[in-house]
Assembly symmetry: C2
Homo-oligomer: 217 residues x 2
């Protein structure tokens, strides 16, 4: 029953005791696969709004679904991190690792991080493997700045916020996102519908498939 | 719909967008509350064995349940940490934060960390609040050393592993654990039964209560 596997690059004294509950069993029970929808885009592009709305609708349809939000994580797990480049990278790495734990536990995780650097998103993708789906919440800077829901662009323009993405720090657009949501040109409702259709296609397990596979076990 | 709350001690520019799915709704769906069973005890005391066995049985009974294991986390989220005191404390703090995320998402989390210091466990408890249940996996050093499933005590006695809990580093027993499992005197089966009875009492929501509360919403 006990399967000891060496796990840490920092020690030869650590061995993992294998869980007897594998991710597939969790997926079958939930009726959908676990995975990560990694929303990336400028501040004000609509990431959190879309994530929270999609979470609400999917939950009511019976999904095990969770929003992981940069702002929320920084209040807890990442409260020890600042905003220097190394801290930002660590912020994203930890978020990706937590998303992986949730995805393997059966959750559809919807993350909402600006995550402006391709290299950081590449690392998040490498951590999660094929369960990782990059979603570009595409709104141009002018649109985001005109919304400015938190008043951050105004303060950034006044020089009160250093290294603000889009103003004084770069945003590197995804080159080949799995999905692109045009939040400057389409309504929230339309974008949520697009996102949910993608989710159904990519993560839903058909009841027949679930039952059949369960009977084969 | 959007409720902005300042969240980070490190920045005045972060605001959380509130999820519309509250923990209670997740608990009602799952039929049990989320929470954290924090198993603490010496290496070889049986923490992982009990955690994995309890997870397996609870999953088959329909629970959303997950083992978080020190060894497993060190392969991912905490792979950047070594074994100096500050790193050990950070290891426990992050584990407690991740456990909290899972507990608030509806999971019963069973952690299996030696977590030898009272202060670290106090912090883990403070992070999780009343959802935190300390479980002392009590086996004396002689019993653990005679089992030595990973051969670690032997190597520690030979001086090959510095600061090994129980040999060359202290283990501070819980003063008032919520539950105490006597793994040196009782069988694995008996200890698992004790643990599961505690779980039923502490976390199960009665179907009637769930239905009633749902209808009141």
């Amino acid at each position: 029953m006990t399967n000891l596997v060496q796990v840490s690059p920092r020690s030869t004294n650590l061995y993992a005791v294998s869980s007897r509950v594998d991710p597939q069993s969790r997926f079958f029970r939930n009726g959908h696969q676990g995975g990560v929808l990694w929303l990336t885009g400028l501040s004000g592009s609509g990431k959190s709004t879309l994530a929270v709305e999609a979470e609400w609708r999917l939950f009511r349809q019976g999904w095990q679904v969770l929003v992981l939000d940069g702002d929320n994580l920084r209040g807890g797990l990442n409260s020890d991190l600042g905003f220097a480049p190394a801290d930002r990278a660590q912020n994203i790495r930890r978020a990706a690792e937590v998303a992986k734990l949730f995805a393997q536990s059966g959750f559809l995780v919807i993350t909402a991080f600006i995550s402006p650097y391709r290299e950081d998103r590449r690392i998040a993708g490498a951590i999660n493997g094929p369960a990782f789906h990059e979603v570009y919440v595409a709104a141009d800077l002018a649109a985001c700045e005109s919304r400015d829901p938190k008043g951050l662009y105004r303060r950034a323009r006044q020089g009160q916020i250093p290294e603000f993405t889009g103003i004084s720090a770069p945003y590197e657009e995804p080159l080949a996102p799995a999905l692109r949501l045009e939040t400057a040109r389409q309504s929230v409702e339309a974008c949520v519908e697009t996102l949910l259709a993608y989710v159904e296609e990519a993560f839903r397990l058909e009841p027949a498939m679930t039952a059949q596979t369960a009977s084969e076990r």
